[in-house]
Symmetry: C2
């Protein structure tokens, strides 16, 4: 044979991560909880392929050798460019257009899955992440937008967040259009100066109100010395925008009154007010009060394709960040109405509105908020192996525990009891089962309570430790195995 | 503005599919059921990225412009080839090697996820499909192989398959090595003639025993006239292989006796017998009898990297295929021991064994077997809208139903009652709620029982139809909404 191949390096591409054990379990549970809420609201599941034609994704790439402008693209066998989806909205639009008359409208669907962005990775910035979207296709009713808020609030509560720990903030692009009209800009977000104004408003969280003022007018230099060009508004026009942005009140009704003053007589402003008034009424009837959903004129959402209501959900729990500052955890979901997106395929507008949860971000938020703890003993019961020739007996012990619904495994590695107990400990096992010649002869098994053991070894030091630790081990008749393990797992109150 | 862009075609790349509604629900449920069994056996979840470095995937591609030899590959921003994973075993090997000492061995892990193959698509052959794998890393014990069989059998039963409807077939490459030794071939599957023999055995299901004989000797021409070269064995050597292949009996003990004769004194044959004997003992103690797991020397599994036990799970329920022939549904899972795969990274062998369920194939099998029916009314209760100005009231009705755990949605489209009831019907709604001016004035709601309605309209024809159908509608006090809907959903026995 030829010489051995060079040793391979075991690593994954930059910006990609492995998730294992507790992190996967917590995420699976979180997704199931959200799905349960979405199901109850009548949404239907959809799964689309990871790969789509690049043109269907709505990326209009230059004719170049490698179109890696933010997406992972490659040429299919028939020389057409295909790419990994970068969100779940573009594939949904393709699906809706492809189904045509076969799709029953209005169509409420949810989809959870990975999306991929070919961007520069960084700390906490991954190139593969998970989104969980709901969208309602085929209705222009503000009721659908209100539902998005309600279902999102309910999902967050189902995950254990309490009132006051999160807030859904709602705005509408139509009101922003009204503001644009008042300051003499073309309403509609395609025009560059309007986009620049929207981007300035969107940066409020990072740059504060005076930062936004600079971005609206002459431009802003940040701490690192980087200069961002301004939108070139006059001081007076900027004031109109800033007043609008800050029109939000704790009460939705008061915000509506303030907004009515801010957008004055602009026709699209009036349409925006009507929209928010309808949303307010429906939210009230769905029992979503101001503790859970408010109107916030400072919400813009970056995407150019939004045409009406926009919303964002933020976790308001405060944490101390790396620089020692107290700050809110922040945005975990966002979305809005995009009535024009599907027309790229169909030629006619199909009204649509949706919201996307950033699953990884929400996981991080719940974890920072202490809602996803490292469960101390979620490992299986470990059946240790004293005598390999009795492997079948050990397997039978594990099988009995499993038949009673208890997670259990037999130790299949090498090493004596000490190594096996260390394994059990690292596995997060609640109990180790020990059975050697003595136990088999006497018809018993020994059970080591590793939960109590861990608690004791944390508390007790010195000479007492051994005696205390040994208390955490009992020898019981073989026939009582399951009952005794259950007693350790769920001690009587 | 410039002229509008040309209308896009809404389609997904060839070989990819969308899954929606019931199909997604059924699959999600199936995956949860399997996961529950794997959890109970002490397996831990893992999720690896969709993209890996091509060299880590174990594809040794020629230096060419586009390495599309069966995988979807592209160049990363740093000019390294990355690709979508084509199975879950290669990423696991990379993960294990990368974790090194931080991984507690033995490591039992499960992973469910998409894999991608850049192959020619065909009917039922997709380029993206889902695998659900378990693997145990770091133990050479046959107990791990026995566990694979047991956990697989238990998972299939948890999905509703009964004894006799599936079978796990076990063999070991070591026995095949013993046969190779007897016929004068180099044991170990890397040698081309041995691989040719393995491939011949593997084709038994498709070509029958005489077909295998031809493939072992002079070669075989199929119905279409295509000729497959033979392995060039003598008639006598072929007989030895054919006897071995057919040594399987209903009883595992009898198979072991027959195999002892077939592999005679070949040393690797003896090692294979020891392995199967150990597996037999552990299966017996795990309560897995011959109704669920047998030894079948005809099982090879194609992959060259297997080094010991191999296994396959087949659904034995018979169906009538497209040509009108009765046949068993066939293989839905397979795997085996691959002690050498991780050494590509580590330089030393790490024993490993696993089994992979083809999730899409298993779904198809369960569906063909009638175990996944189209549930007649799994849609939500649809609250119809008579008067749009009362939208908030309709939303409140839906909210009340949801608060009671009932799936419910408000109709948000256009159209009168008839269109809305047609929508509810197409949605698979069990009940439509109807409330117009009369109902609001009287403090009532009307409930249309669409389950009964569908049953009646299937049975009753002609004049009676209207009268019967109207029976399926009741008007009840508004306060009894939830109770009455529940009564329709779960009629008293």
């Amino acid at each position: 044979m030829s010489k051995p191949p060079p040793r391979l390096q075991a690593r994954s591409p930059r910006g990609f991560q492995d998730l294992s054990g507790h992190a996967v379990r917590a995420r699976t549970k979180m997704i199931a909880t959200i799905r349960e809420v979405y199901d109850r609201y009548g949404f239907e599941p959809l799964e689309t392929p990871a790969l789509e034609y690049v043109d269907a994704l709505g990326k209009f790439l230059p004719e170049q050798d490698r179109p890696d402008e933010g997406i992972f693209a490659l040429k299919d066998t028939d020389e057409q460019w295909i790419a990994l989806r970068y969100d779940l909205t573009a594939p949904l639009s393709r699906f809706v257009a492809q189904m045509g008359q076969d799709l029953v409208l209005p169509y409420r669907r949810y989809q959870v899955g990975s999306v991929w962005r070919n961007e520069k990775p960084g700390p906490g910035r991954f190139r593969e992440f998970t989104q969980f979207d709901i969208d309602t296709i085929g209705t222009a009713s503000p009721a659908a937008d209100a539902e998005n808020c309600a279902v999102l609030a309910e999902a967050l509560e189902a995950l254990g967040l309490k009132r006051g720990e999160f807030i859904v903030k709602i705005n509408t692009r139509r009101l922003l259009d009204g503001v644009m009209e008042r300051i003499g800009l073309q309403p509609g977000s395609a025009d560059p100066q309007s986009l620049c104004v929207l981007r300035a408003i969107d940066k409020f969280d990072r740059v504060g109100i005076e930062g936004v003022r600079l971005l609206l007018t002459s431009g802003r230099k940040d701490e690192s010395g980087d200069f961002t060009k301004g939108a070139g508004l006059s001081a007076q026009a900027a004031d109109i925008v800033l007043d609008f942005m800050q029109a939000g009140q704790a009460s939705r009704g008061e915000t509506l009154s303030a907004l009515a003053r801010a957008v004055a007589n602009a026709p699209s402003g009036r349409a925006g007010l009507d929209e928010l008034e309808a949303i307010d009424r429906i939210l009230a009837n769905l029992g979503i009060d101001e503790g859970r959903a408010i109107f916030d004129p400072g919400i813009v959402r970056g995407l150019a394709y939004y045409t009406g209501a926009v919303l964002e959900a933020a976790i308001t729990i405060e944490i101390t960040d790396d620089e020692g500052r107290r700050r809110q955890i922040g945005s975990v979901a966002g979305g809005g109405r995009y009535d024009g997106l599907i027309s790229r395929f169909t030629g006619t507008d199909i009204p649509a509105t949706g919201v996307s949860i950033g699953v990884d971000r929400l996981m991080t938020a719940l974890s920072l908020a202490g809602r996803i703890g490292a469960s101390q003993a979620e490992g299986p019961v470990v059946v240790t192996v004293f005598d390999k020739s009795r492997m079948a007996d050990y397997q039978r012990i594990a099988a009995e525990l499993r038949a009673a619904g208890i997670r259990a495994e037999v130790f299949l590695g090498e090493g004596g009891l000490k190594a096996q107990l260390r394994y059990a400990d690292r596995r997060g096992a609640p109990v180790a089962v020990i059975a050697g010649g003595d136990e088999f002869a006497a018809g018993t098994v020994s059970l080591k309570d590793l939960i109590a053991g861990r608690a004791l070894s944390a508390e007790v030091a010195g000479n007492e430790q051994w005696r205390e630790k040994s208390r955490a081990q009992v020898t019981v008749p073989r026939g009582e195995l399951v009952a005794q393990v259950k007693a350790i797992l769920q001690p009587p109150a």
